[in-house]
């Protein structure tokens, strides 16, 4: 395969992380100065040691790993915000509390390479884990509503959707076949007979 079968079935988690790194803008506090730089994805800078500046998450990660800046966590990546979301998640069993679409990927990058920039990172990590489990239980309840036509999953994040994709698309395919009109061979005796005749035998 030009692309392995499992990739054809669904993007990998690492690929979703790549997209989050590319498509998410964050604030960083540089510890150095550098002139403006124009890249394909946009132009960034000039960088001054005093001023926070917005860059794509992959640029922030790159500079942080070089010890050149600290990352400023988004407002939702905090104990207060996540505790409130967890309460909402638990209090409304019928729907998913709105979270940033790529929250799982963004949170992981922050906690992996910039935990020192995140206040009480371990508490944030465990809140995220709790949120994941509550939402997973909700997803399972929602699956019971799956039919061959459609399933609404508003509020789910990209990583949560991706984990379900191969299983759900296949399950829906099975239901569609089971519910479909009979696939009946159109041929009747003479027709089959005729086709065997006019095949020039």
């Amino acid at each position: 395969m030009a692309l392995p079968a499992n990739l054809m079935r669904s993007p990998l988690p690492a690929e979703l992380e790549f997209i989050a790194l590319q498509q998410t803008d964050i604030l960083i506090r540089p510890h150095f100065s550098m002139g403006k730089i124009r890249l394909l994805s946009g132009s960034y800078g000039p960088f001054r040691a005093t001023a926070n500046i917005e860059v794509p998450l992959w640029v922030g990660k790159y500079m942080k790993q070089q010890g050149k800046c600290s990352l400023i966590p988004p407002v939702w990546l905090s104990v207060e915000w996540l505790e409130e979301k967890l309460r909402q998640e638990i209090s409304r069993p019928e729907e998913f509390a709105p979270l940033p679409f790529r929250f799982a990927e963004i949170a992981k990058v922050f906690l992996d390479i910039a935990a020192d920039d995140v206040p009480s990172p371990e508490r944030v990590r465990s809140l995220l884990k709790d949120l994941r489990e509550v939402r997973q239980a909700k997803t399972r309840k929602g699956l019971a509503l799956l039919d061959e036509m459609e399933l609404r999953m508003t509020g789910l994040g990209s990583m949560e959707i991706n984990e379900l994709r191969p299983f759900l698309t296949r399950a829906m395919g099975v239901m569609r076949v089971l519910a479909s009109e009979p696939e009946v061979p159109a041929s009747t005796a003479d027709n089959t007979f005729v086709t065997s005749m006019d095949d020039g035998w």
């Binding site: 690929e15 803008d25 964050i26 150095f32 124009r38 394909l40 994805s41 679409f101 036509m149 459609e150």
Partner: protein
């Protein structure tokens, strides 16, 4: 060596390179989280070349069908990568300033990332083209979605694939059994085509109003709504960009 449309000369070190569409300043993150969940839910609306490539890549990876090849975008990105590679080659030799070293690292990193994204986009298409080669070669509407190089690849693939099956199988059968494109009594065809009824995940970027379902019922698609639904039902919404595959 194919001549990729290189960008007007640009040496990034003094910030004067002129990309055809310098990206608009990225939308500032909305500080007040709850004020507008919209900002949280949808990616910042960006239109730079890499964002467009991410969209093309996601569309190709998540759609059962072969999409139209993004020839202009790919050409532009190839030109950019070509120009940057030459620029970095020059700078590495004659010793760049400290600041240039900084910038080389970032530019090299972006080239790695964009290079991988482009290769993955091409490989994803290649896999679908090869799987449905006979159908694509027999359907002009599909061929228009391919680059010239892809058309050549798909035509030669069908030829060598069928040659092998002829030598090992059908070539050794009675003459009236040698066809490789028969339609069976129950309607199934030997020429497989993309299953447009396959379910896909979509995320609505705006209110799309009601959509007609195969059983005649109608489904309301609201902004930020996420649905697992048959691709055929939402294909037009996807192609018009009102919903995105995810």
């Amino acid at each position: 060596m194919s001549d990729w449309p290189t960008l007007p000369g640009g040496s990034w070190s003094n910030g004067h390179s002129h990309l055809p569409s310098p990206s608009p300043e990225p939308a500032a993150a909305d500080a007040d989280a709850d004020a507008d969940a919209d900002e949280l839910a949808l990616d910042a609306e960006r239109a730079d070349a890499v964002t467009l490539l991410v969209r093309a890549w996601t569309g190709e990876r998540c759609a059962p069908d072969v999409r139209a090849f993004e020839g202009e975008l790919v050409g532009r990105i190839m030109g950019y990568l070509d120009a940057q590679a030459k620029l970095i080659g020059v700078l590495k030799v004659d010793g760049a300033s400290e600041e240039d070293h900084e910038k080389i690292g970032l530019v090299q990193m972006e080239m790695d990332r964009v290079g991988w994204l482009l290769r993955s986009y091409i490989a994803t298409r290649q896999e679908k083209l090869i799987r449905y080669a006979p159908y694509i070669n027999a359907t002009p509407a599909m061929q228009t979605r391919l680059s010239v190089a892809e058309q050549t690849l798909v035509e030669s693939y069908q030829q060598i694939f069928e040659e092998s099956l002829i030598r090992d199988v059908v070539g050794n059968l009675p003459e009236e059994l040698q066809a490789l494109d028969e339609v069976l009594p129950d309607g199934r065809s030997m020429v497989s085509q993309p299953d447009l009824d396959k379910a896909v995940f979509i995320r609505a970027k705006q209110d799309c109003g009601p959509v007609l379902m195969p059983d005649g019922s109608s489904l309301e698609i609201k902004k930020r709504g996420i649905h697992l639904i048959s691709y055929r039902v939402v294909e037009q919404l996807v192609l018009r960009g009102e919903v995105e595959l995810t």
